[in-house]
Amino acid sequence: MQRIGVFICWCGSNIAATVDVERVAEIMKSEPGVVYSANYQYMCSENGQQLIKQAIKEHNLTGIVVGACSPRMHEATFRKAAEAAGLNPYMVEIANIREHCSWIHKDMEEATEKAVVLVRTAIAKVKLNAPLTAGESPVVKRALVIGGGIAGIQAALDIADAGFEVDIVEKNATIGGRMAQLDKTFPTLDCSACILTPKMVDCAQHEKIDILSYSEIEDVKGFVGNFSVTIRKKARYVDETKCTGCKICMEKCPSKKGLNTFNMGLNTRPAIHIPFAQAIPNVAVIDPEQCIKLKTGKCGICQKFCGVGAIDYEQKDTFIERQYGAIVVATGFKPISLESFNEYGYDDNKDVITSLELERLMNAAGPTNGVLLRPSDGEHPKVITFIQCVGSRDTSGCGKPYCSKVCCMYTAKHAMLIREKYPDTEVHVFYIDVRTPGKNYDEFFRRAVEQYGVDYIKGMVGKVYNENGKLMVQGSNLIDNEQVTIESDLVVLAAAIEPEPSVRKIATLLTASIDTNNFLTESHAKLRPVESPTAGVYLAGMCQGPKDIPETVSQASACAAKVIGLLVKDKLKTNPCVATPDEMMCNGCSQCANVCAYGAITYIDKEFRLGGGKTEVRRVASVNPAVCQGCGACTVTCPSGAMDLKGFSSKQIMSEVEAICKK
């Protein structure tokens, strides 16, 4: 005989203000099978859990229902409590009377009535629950970091320092990412390369780290603790093991007109090139679109001059398959395309540039060797106007609805650096709001205004146009209620940032969820900010949301801590809510295996006893519980109903349906 206990939580006033919790608990007392029903202010608290444990023991409960917040919140908590009291943790069901009831309904009568139905539904289900035991699966002690920017580098170093093998997969020819392109970093103004390149070198020299540059993720199989990843190493037409990075090939290459993407296309580079001086690996790569030999078959000059014979025009993409226990996604960002913002004249005027382009123009290793010269004529710009929020906070459909977070600070940095280096330059900044939350951030911005005399104009720019060789920036000055036009030599646009587009494919392969802006979704905005909802996948840096370098590095280290926590385990508990076939009913028809995304179903020939001492060998399905993820696709495909899902059995769901429909 079932002995069910019901526990109704007030959640302070979160539930109790709209649901008459005492009445719900009272009603449940007379439900068939219920032997105990109570209500308490905070069931999830130590005392609340104690109450549950005590009741389980005192009343010999065979199953419990907790009417509380979403199971996504505290199911694990209550399962643990039940287990501590000697009840199988899977004999616990949650009735979500907060998110699905008290928080969305105002009328107490209505909400209470619904809460009663929801609790009854959970009782109906729990009566059919069966004790389940979690299985175990092994953990591969190796991590994969996707993306070799500062986020990926930091995560990899931290994981490797803990003694685990790490592979960094970077789609570009070098690690370093966006940070390698920056000149100085706020709010301390230290040189970006000076703090990043030592970390890059650490990665290269770390015995536990393997850098797979110029490589992409091709396929992902498996699950937490045991991912199997196929990596495509793109042909770079240079043997990595032989190239010494002497750069003679770059000098000799006759095809020198390729856009230098590292310098944001502000200058050119040869077809064979090393992206920048401190590249890791310091190995050349050939752009096949630009290489004369690869396009026409004629040339081969680099091969002739290469002293170590590293050039290999025949190189093909290769595929590596490796096993990992955990995966960190750190795919980073890019500035948005400005094609929907022609009012700022980016396409028509060379001297309208983005902030990232300005970084390269200011960088000592950049196209102008760090001298600020305007792209159109190489002159020193005397009046520079910055425009903030280009495409950020834009709900019109042209841009992004979110705040890009870093622009206010880097614009202050740029303005300050320009005034510092070229005091005769006039600097204006059009802004909507200046957002500077962060340690020493507002102080930094105020220095730009107070110490460096940067002119901040509250208002947006309506139009940038070229007149008599000057860039006319026409915008609002809302403080003075004026329309102003500033004759400028250079206009810098703080373009909104967006996740690197390749993240979509990676998210699909990992079955990690992605939001409407293509940012990867974290498992919980506050409490699990670096975990993807997909177990074993962690998120670092801009791929999860706009953030600056300090935040990115913190998040990367947090990821590393999570990964280390996973990799130190030898085995993982697996979800016991998996599919199981009733072999007596299985036809062996193979329909279920056809829909299994994990390959968890195989078929075996099994001997069955018939009546009268006879036996029969039949083909029946067999589910690998370590591989099954418990989606249930097979259960519906199975025509005989032989396949069922533990924890979500057909009978359980049917009983829930009945409980809800009963009027």
């Binding site: 913002f341 022609n342 396409d347 139009k463 146009y465 007149e467």
Partner: protein
């Protein structure tokens, strides 16, 4: 082919040149513009107020006529195009306006935005094709020409869907097709201010001078437009900075069509 054509008030009076040259050129390019019967003035300005119905009805009548006569309605005057296209969008997407307009008009079958409003330039681009125009040119217009779009053709871009509102190209493509060199200048999509010229003569003057100066600075030798109001304003208030013509006049010149 035949297309229903809505000329509008000004093209029958002060802007006859636009109407006449457009028809002749279309004919030369194999398109017959069939003026719809009993058209009424579109009102010359789109009423934005959501409760304005009566002022949109003449546009709806013209649209309904086009719906039953080939489905396309050709316009030429920028103002008519703006009014009719935006009214058509209302009839398509605004339940309230559609209901009330139909209630008023009592057509045999309610009108729900089925017709397609096509500007003469769009017709040249999509129906005739600029490549075909290029082939038909006998007298290439070898001049540096500035396109003046003004406001009505382009905005609001969500509804007009005419071209990129900040960086339009259709008139420039047209100029290339007739053998000219387009001059791109920043004020080609700025309003010339003509609408307020009865109340305020200063603003239209300033604005038209600004437009023409901007074009002249970038090397334009003449300006073309599709709007009679802009043409008037730029000619009268532009103080002769540059000659201003209808684009169809240049088309006629290029095609060798005798007016």
């Amino acid at each position: 082919m035949k297309i229903s054509y809505y000329p509008g008030c000004t093209l029958k009076t002060k802007a006859k040149d636009l109407d006449v040259t457009a028809r002749l050129c279309a004919k030369a390019l194999g398109v017959e513009m069939e003026e719809i019967e009993n058209w009424q003035c579109c009102g010359a300005v789109y009423p934005m107020a959501t409760d304005e119905i009566a002022t949109k009805l003449s546009a709806v009548r013209a649209l309904d006529h086009a719906k039953h006569n080939g489905g396309k309605l050709l316009t030429l005057c920028s103002a008519c195009h703006n009014v009719i296209k935006r009214t058509n969008e209302d009839m398509k997407t605004n339940d309230d306006i559609r209901f009330r307009a139909n209630n008023y008009l009592q057509l045999d079958e309610p009108y729900g935005g089925e017709a397609e409003v096509l500007h003469y330039l769009e017709m040249l681009k999509t129906v005739v094709g600029f490549d075909n125009i290029k082939k038909a040119v006998v007298n290439p217009v070898k001049r540096k020409i500035g396109a003046y779009y003004g406001c009505l053709l382009l905005r609001p871009s969500g509804v007009m869907a005419f071209d990129n509102p900040e960086n339009p190209t259709i008139i420039e493509d047209f100029i290339r097709a007739i053998g000219g060199t387009p001059v791109i200048y920043p004020f080609r999509n700025e309003c010339c201010g003509a609408y307020v010229s009865l109340k305020n003569s200063d603003l239209p003057k300033q604005k038209s001078k600004k437009v023409l100066m901007s074009a002249k600075e970038k090397g334009a030798e003449e300006i073309i437009t599709a709007c009679p109001l802009c043409l008037y304003n730029l000619q009268v208030n532009g103080e002769g900075t540059l000659p201003v013509k209808y684009f169809t006049e240049l088309l006629a010149e290029a095609l060798g069509v005798q007016v």
